[in-house]
């Protein structure tokens, strides 16, 4: 299956996020690798996804799960070789699956040779590749992001006897984007992978590239200038490739990252995700409609990226204090579940393993405007291990079957990079891909069907959205429209059955075709359209004028 040649392919993408380490181990060393990942491409193709987002797989001391890169142009030996990556990429492309890789552009590992050179002496040619200072008092307006571990954004370097700037962990010094040589080098890194055939980059931590005194050092015009230049070079040299921004910001602050369609193609919609969880718990559409109302229009070639869970904590940075307290009290009563300003849990445990809620959340993920991301393992309802430190509890090995090591690796269990989930509810004997593959009504097979229906129309990826505001506030309803195609999505956020009257006068005369069973529902007439929905039920209807 060849890759489709549409330059806007990312609008129709369904992205599967995975860390190569977690997926499948082919060489029995207890760590997932590219050969293993390649072996599992059939599984992903069958699931229906058409893009893979790989977390960092570069050489790294792995003090931040690979987001501390020590060499941008190679593969971490634990995961294989460049050749292995190249083979995986080709195999993915053969299946019509695009590959998105990480570009951790804001910082490197302190083990990166660039930093080692930079710190070696004040007059080293790479001294200015990082942000150095004689004091730790500059840029006081910048917040500390990893509050649980860092006390300052400056760290003392005993070698060069000065302070270096870091927005994340102190072992991750920030690159100095005021230096044109750094910008040029980052483009060289991109070029290296693009020439190999990589389809897109997820640019990590983009708001923080440039620092200026008297600001909060986020979202600065100088940062946008750097990013626009990278985009210009990308379009000029590699048309059809894509840039995805990771910028955990409010929608209005995110909007500039799209520029006039000349900066990022896509950006994560961070504030929406916690509000979907909030709306579900409150049984009220308000948090969801409110944040989407505040979401500005973006250029037609751009797209939001939506997700329910990912490799990080469920971030609560983009919520108010009262909302954060509510989220903690309802989703993370056990304080060990909390990390930084977030909740380090997977989807299924967050939703108390309630299949109906898991389906509803995925239904919204696939029908709200944007490109959805499925985090590996969530398609089978994998659990987490909150006893593992940092965010490692949501990064445990993929559960393929109920056999030794969950089919992830043939290594001795003690050699696995992380322990498997063993508990009776989420442990691999109970929750695994093989078992769910064989069960017609499993979550895995339901997800395949959901993705297939999503892919049956371009309206979800590219259509407009119009919210309906039925008087029943437990119902989240919206109409997606693209050309002549119209889809109505109705979601019951409540744990109880609900009746709702929808004002569909605009569509009078249409009949409704339920998109999963393809059954006909009554024609829209003069009266409000009455629907009843079971607890957490959702409908997708195609509107047809016949």
């Amino acid at each position: 299956m060849p890759l489709n040649s549409d330059a806007l392919w990312y609008k129709d993408a369904i992205i599967y996020q995975v860390h190569v380490r977690t997926f499948h181990d082919s060489n029995r060393d207890g760590i997932g690798d590219f050969q293993g990942l390649e072996e599992k491409l059939d599984y992903l193709q069958e699931l229906g996804i058409n893009s893979i987002w790989l977390m960092p797989f570069f050489p790294s001391p792995l003090r931040d799960d690979g987001y501390d890169i020590a060499d941008y142009n190679a593969v971490h030996p634990s995961y294989g070789t460049l050749e292995d990556f190249r083979k995986f990429l080709e195999s993915a492309h053969d299946r019509g699956i695009r590959v998105i890789i990480e570009l951790v552009s804001n910082h490197t590992s302190d083990q990166h040779p660039w930093f080692q050179e930079s710190r070696s002496s004040q007059d080293n040619p790479r001294r200015d590749w990082y942000v150095w200072s004689d004091t730790d008092t500059r840029y006081k307006g910048a917040r500390i992001i990893f509050l649980d571990t860092e006390k300052s954004n400056w760290a003392w370097d005993p070698i060069s006897k000065s302070f270096y700037w870091h927005r994340f962990f102190s072992h991750q010094p920030d690159l100095n984007y005021d230096n044109p040589a750094v910008q040029e080098q980052m483009w060289n890194v991109m070029k290296f992978w693009l020439e190999m055939g990589v389809d897109a980059f997820r640019l990590d931590a983009v708001p923080y590239l440039v620092e200026r005194e008297g600001t909060n050092c986020e979202n600065l015009p100088e940062t946008h200038k750097v990013l626009k230049e990278l985009r210009r070079k990308l379009d000029e040299n590699f048309p059809g490739r894509m840039l995805l921004a990771e910028a955990n910001q409010w929608p209005a602050d995110l909007r500039p990252y799209f520029g006039d369609g000349d900066e990022f193609h896509m950006a994560f919609h961070f504030p929406l995700m916690p509000r979907m969880f909030m709306g579900l718990k409150l049984e009220d559409r308000k948090p969801i409609t409110e944040i989407l109302q505040q979401t500005p229009e973006i250029p037609s070639t751009c797209q939001w990226t939506l997700f329910l869970r990912n490799h990080d904590e469920l971030t609560l940075e983009m919520v108010t204090d009262i909302e954060r307290d509510y989220m903690y009290d309802t989703y993370a009563q056990n304080k060990t579940m909390r990390l930084n300003l977030g909740i380090r849990r997977r989807l299924a445990p967050l939703l108390a393993n309630d299949r109906r809620r898991i389906e509803l959340m995925n239904g919204m993920l696939m029908s709200l405007p944007g490109t959805p991301i499925v985090y590996y393992g969530d398609e089978i309802g994998m659990g987490d291990n909150i006893n593992l430190g940092d965010r490692n509890g949501v990064r445990t090995p993929m559960q393929w079957n109920g056999e030794t090591n969950a089919g992830f690796s043939a290594a001795a269990p003690e050699r696995l990079y992380a322990p498997l989930i063993h508990d009776p509810v989420y442990g691999y004997p109970a929750v695994n891909a093989l078992r769910q593959h064989a069960s017609e009504h499993s979550l895995l097979n339901w997800m395949r069907s959901l993705i297939a229906v999503r892919k049956s129309t371009g309206v979800f990826g590219r259509g407009s959205i119009q919210f309906l505001y039925p008087a029943n506030h437990r119902i989240l309803a919206y109409v997606r429209q693209l050309g002549n195609e119209t889809v109505l999505a109705v979601n019951n956020l409540s744990s109880t059955a609900q009746a709702v009257e929808l004002d569909l006068q605009r569509y009078k005369g249409n009949i409704l075709i339920e998109m999963f069973g393809k059954n006909m529902f009554p024609r829209i007439g003069d009266l409000p359209y009455l629907l009843t929905l079971g607890p957490y039920q959702f409908y997708w209807f195609r509107l047809r004028r016949i």
Binding site: E283, K286, E323, Y326, P470, H473, S494
Partner: protein, 422 residues
């Protein structure tokens, strides 16, 4: 034949859309456009400050306003206030309104609100006045928290009032309710109070809606129902009560609502009150009651003259209501010079008790009995003003307490009169 539903289909549809709630705020209205807007905003603010996570609804039962009151209630959005109050609501805050079919009636409005509370399975409810000029967001918490958190069934307010304000309450309703039912509730008749769904449903099921009283004084009857139903009751201090709200009320209609309701309840409640002697304080949050001392203009001369005229003109009526000794004493004091005029507590209590007994016997039309008490109350009010003209807040409270004790002391006299009438 099944009773016709008193809730309209449209209202039921609105309730269905709201669904189950934690907090319900009842707001009966009739032509309150001047004040209702700020009241609703304050209520919304109170909900958001005090109950930001809870499911809440404001239910407006309107008696056919022609000034756009219901539209004001439902049209006020919390979003309008957000910038100025820094409010952030997690949930949809509902405001719904219904016009009931009959003419304006606090009883129909309350019945509608109680029915809504039952249908929505509200955990804690509060009734608010659309005219409360002094309402603050904290009132919501003060009236709801004891129910929501501490398991009380009824929270009645206490206020900071001027010493001469609310004399019908201080000279009759409070002391008599206290003596009858044995519980010291300062504001048994108030447009603001909190209640549990249990009490709401219990009262809704009672035969008070079609008992011929046309629901007069339903708020007072609600309080009495809570007492006789052995519900947990407490008081909560709200602060200053706007005097404007009640100043315009005519005495006779006010007496129908309060004294009429109290007298009406005495017959069915006889088993509950007849065996009670003395009284117990109700648990109270905040001040028990505060008295303000700044000047308040009252036409004392007119009060006394209306008393004297009433005693003369209504002599034949009083003959069928009062005992000869009580009537003779009233006629005696009616002739006293202004400086010497004094309507003593004992005589006042006996007067009231004899009226209550006559009300039970229906010696004449019950409404006439209530109307006939009005001039006598004016005489008592005159004495209260004179006695407390220079009194400190503590003295005023002591005088009210003295009157209450007199009502309690003479309760056997009431029972005697009552039995005599059987």
């Amino acid at each position: 034949m099944a009773e016709e539903s008193f809730l309209t289909d449209d209202f039921l549809r609105q309730l269905m859309n709201v669904g189950e709630v934690d907090i319900l705020v009842g707001l009966p209205t009739h032509n309150n456009a001047k004040t209702v807007g700020s009241v609703v905003q304050t209520i919304q603010s109170g909900i958001l400050h005090g109950f930001p996570r809870d499911r809440a609804v404001i239910i407006n039962a309107d008696g056919g306003s022609r000034d756009g009151t219901p539209e004001l209630v439902t049209g006020i959005s919390i979003d309008d206030m957000r910038p100025s109050f820094n409010l952030n609501s997690l949930r949809t805050l509902h405001s719904i309104s219904t016009k009931y079919a009959s003419s304006p009636s606090s009883s129909v409005a309350m019945r509608t609100i109680l029915a809504a509370a039952e249908l929505l399975r509200a955990k804690a409810c509060v009734m608010m006045s659309p005219e409360s000029a002094n309402i603050t967001p904290e009132w919501l918490s003060k009236l709801l928290r004891p129910i929501y958190n501490d398991g009380f069934d009824l929270v009645t307010p206490t206020y900071r009032r001027h010493k001469f304000e609310g004399q019908l309450i201080t000279n009759l309703v409070y002391p008599m309710t206290r003596a009858l039912y044995g519980l010291r509730i300062r504001e048994a008749y108030s447009p603001e109070f909190g209640f549990s769904s249990r009490l709401g449903s219990q009262f809704l099921a009672q035969n008070v809606w079609n008992d011929g009283t046309e629901g007069a004084g339903v708020e007072l009857r609600f309080t009495l129902a809570a007492i006789t139903g052995k519900c947990r009751i407490c008081q909560s201090f709200l602060g200053e009560k706007d005097s404007v709200e009640r100043r315009g009320a005519d005495l006779v209609p006010a007496m129908r609502q309060t004294v009429g309701a109290l007298f009406s309840a005495m017959e069915p409640d006889f088993p509950a009150w007849s065996g009670i002697a003395g009284s117990q304080p109700a648990p109270t949050t905040g001040a028990d009651q505060e008295v303000l001392l700044e000047p308040l203009r009252v036409n004392r001369k007119r009060l006394r003259s209306m008393f004297s005229t009433g005693v003369v003109e209504l002599e034949s009526v009083f003959q069928s209501i009062l005992s000869p000794s009580t009537l003779a004493e009233l006629q005696r004091i009616a002739l006293l010079r202004e400086d010497d005029f004094h309507y003593p507590a004992e005589l006042w209590v006996k007067t009231v008790y004899e009226f209550a007994a006559s009300y039970q016997k229906s010696v004449i039309s019950r409404d006439h009995i209530i109307q006939a008490l009005a001039p006598l109350f004016r005489g008592r009010a005159y004495t209260f003003l004179m006695e407390n003209r220079n009194a400190s807040a503590r003295d005023v409270e002591n005088n009210i307490e003295g009157l209450c004790l007199e009502f309690e002391r003479l309760k056997p006299y009431l029972l005697q009169m009552w039995e005599k009438g059987k």
